[in-house]
Subunit: 312 residues, 2 copies
């Protein structure tokens, strides 16, 4: 059983994931890519995952058989379950592709459609916090090479999102405007951290980037969550994601990274949905853990310049 625990002093939470319980000998202290002998995400191996909850597949084809192009299954080793929430895996492509830079905008658009559908399903299931994320590469926490993303839905809203919402509400009360809309306008006016102005979305290096070559994809339209945004933005978002992956490959040799799609809990019109891509190029160590303050050796202005000039 999963248990959510708060630190006795500060507002820091931990999921004690009993269903993942491990003995000391289970920890993988060996570094380097873990190649699974049999890939349970490849077509033909559908029986190695829990039964699918959704898929993009030819009309009339049976669930848990090959033919799908995107497939969603419950996580076999969930971080949350039952009372605490749900944990799903989105298998992003039938091919055993290893780099998201190989996906291209068309496949990304199909994946985005599934992200949207599953985020809606978890919202409709009454889960107030829904976080979509992608761990790319072993250093970023991926345990499987086959491209996939994940959604965790929680029955509680974590402190970080509550802090963001409080800041957005305070800003709105003071200015009648959205803090993220204004921050985006200021970035566009400044220009030094803009990587690509793609119209509906802007690709930029955040002012307080935690990692070298960190990126944000911010929609110009104010929508609180991806699942609530107008569907006609999907093509533009897919193209901007493809651009981000290609630029990271060209500039930093396909680095490991974490991608996150941040959205609002229900009825929180204040929130401004956006994607973050945080490469795993430096390690969090004692200072960062103790202080909560990151050390980034690459100024984001410098990262933006390199990424602007990177061939697509």
């Amino acid at each position: 059983m999963t248990e959510l625990r708060r630190d006795p002093v500060v507002d820091r939470w931990v999921l004690i994931a009993g269903e993942r319980a491990k003995r000391p000998s289970d920890f993988d202290l060996v570094h380097g890519e873990r190649r699974n002998a049999v890939c349970s995400f490849c077509p033909g191996n559908e029986s190695l995952t829990p039964p699918e909850v959704a898929a993009v597949r030819p009309d009339g084809s049976a669930a848990d058989t090959p033919g799908w192009t995107v497939r969603v299954v419950p996580n076999k080793f969930p971080a949350v379950s039952g009372e605490t929430g749900t944990h799903e895996v989105i298998i992003e492509t039938a091919e055993h592709t290893a780099s998201p830079a190989d996906l291209g905008a068309e496949k990304l658009r199909a994946i985005l459609g599934m992200w949207r559908a599953r985020l809606r399903a978890l919202r409709d299931a009454g889960l107030p916090y829904r976080i979509l994320f992608k761990n790319q590469g072993v250093a970023a926490g991926a345990t499987r090479e086959h491209l996939h993303s994940q959604i965790i839905g929680l029955r509680v809203v974590p402190a970080r999102l509550r802090e963001e919402l409080a800041a957005a509400r305070a800003y709105r009360a003071r200015t009648s405007r959205c803090i993220w809309c204004d921050a985006l306008a200021a970035e566009l006016a400044d220009g030094r951290r803009i990587v690509e102005d793609a119209g509906a979305f802007v690709l930029l290096a955040p002012y307080a980037s935690r990692q070298p070559f960190e990126l944000a994809i911010v929609p110009r339209v104010h929508a609180p969550a991806l699942e609530d945004a107008p569907g006609d933005i999907d093509a533009a978002l897919a193209a901007t994601l493809a651009s981000a992956f290609s630029r990271l490959r060209a500039a930093v040799d396909d680095p490991p990274f974490n991608l996150m799609v941040h959205g609002a809990p229900d009825f929180e019109g204040e929130y401004h949905f956006r994607c973050e891509i945080v490469p795993t190029l430096t390690k969090l160590a004692g200072f960062e853990i103790a202080s909560g303050c990151h050390i980034n050796p690459t100024p984001p202005e410098q990262a933006a310049k390199v990424l602007r000039e990177a061939a697509r």
Copy 2:
């Protein structure tokens, strides 16, 4: 030049460490132990570090020559410097020892004496935030094998410490007691997470442990910072540190970890100094980065049992 930046929305800070500035090709994406061809921390190689700022060495021996047993130098690639703060490295032993479990209580006592002296020196230099940490192993962020710890002194107090102090003050206002003294008493009464009650210090697995086999070393005496605590506790603290390192070696095969010594800014009698040891046994990934909530697959009660039974 180092620059401290705050996120435009939330109270999250980043040190943009210009002096560490790296080109894209500089990032080490290769995993596994980096063995430095020549160890600049070994005796005889003193000229490879900046000039020492302190050392335990025989009377009359010259600075930056062999003979020392503990040696402190400025970090050659500082995360902070000048206006922002200082960054020192404590070379903990003359031998090229790789595991802190091999140090033993006597050497640890000499190291502790130096920690105390440098923390005092940075306090006297007017740095309100002083964090002592040790990154052990490549996965925990160490770039050198030779045992060492580090102190960063900052001119600002990070949000995390301010949050702790606010919670401690609110608790004191309500109860007239110290929140950490009371939490320690509750842990001792409960017993399930106690690894060793060593009298002056208690070794325990924190209730909201972020990582498997996380440990805290909490002093029974209420002292706001190591450098202010009575000197007669050093022998007990060294013995408890030695016990923690030995137990981690026996239970989890000498894992990589981050050790941190948390102390108060000046004149903050509310604070209760303590050490944390956070093994690097699971990776922070998209969910943790997005939510601020950790996932720990090993309940601390189970970790405490294993560590209690581990041979010393």
